[in-house]
Subunit: 129 residues, 2 copies
Amino acid sequence: MNIETIQFDDKGLVPAIVQDAASKEVLTLAYMNQESLTKSLETKETWFYSRSRQELWHKGETSGNTQKIQDIRYDCDQDALLVLVTPEGPACHKGTYTCFSSSLDNQEVAVNETDSVAILTELERIIAQ
Amino acid sequence: MNIETIQFDDKGLVPAIVQDAASKEVLTLAYMNQESLTKSLETKETWFYSRSRQELWHKGETSGNTQKIQDIRYDCDQDALLVLVTPEGPACHKGTYTCFSSSLDNQEVAVNETDSVAILTELERIIAQ
């Protein structure tokens, strides 16, 4: 693990895009500090830093909707993370599959994990076995 | 358009996750201010705010690798954007399809737009016609 390559900002945080590894839908944008990134790597579940509550936050600790980490990638500037997960339930505190459920053209977007891409990704995985 | 619902941070910026609308791969995490978001909506191409150069930045203006916007979504806190695009070329200034090409387990990740998901998404689109 080369966690020391990650550039944390002046608040000690790095943005972490959470993506469903199967459906490839983007679920959440959250933030990690060094401690939460270390805990995420150790436990293989997502830990974030809550900017509003100013504390470490284990996703799903109260709701049960944990996220099992499949991979953590970083970008060319080393200042953003992409966390590929298998979600155990809704990512959003509002109970929806993804936090990105609204479009700027005023429409609600129906995004779910059982769409064709997820099914086909699963099919591809089975075929590859 | 309800751009006024978007919460810009104390620097006037909002993080914008750029995702390929077909393959669903995450390409880049960039930042928009109100002006670049407005220009993105007007031109249907991505405009960002460069934090290092402190200026507006039309993606692909010099490289030709523009990104045609299909949809812009926002999250439950209205403080993050998800921009679904059709890329005209590599998203990364290093010439790769996505900026997220490295994994924390020290492996380079081969991500490209012609993977099975993109092909199947395209197939689904053709069938739906």
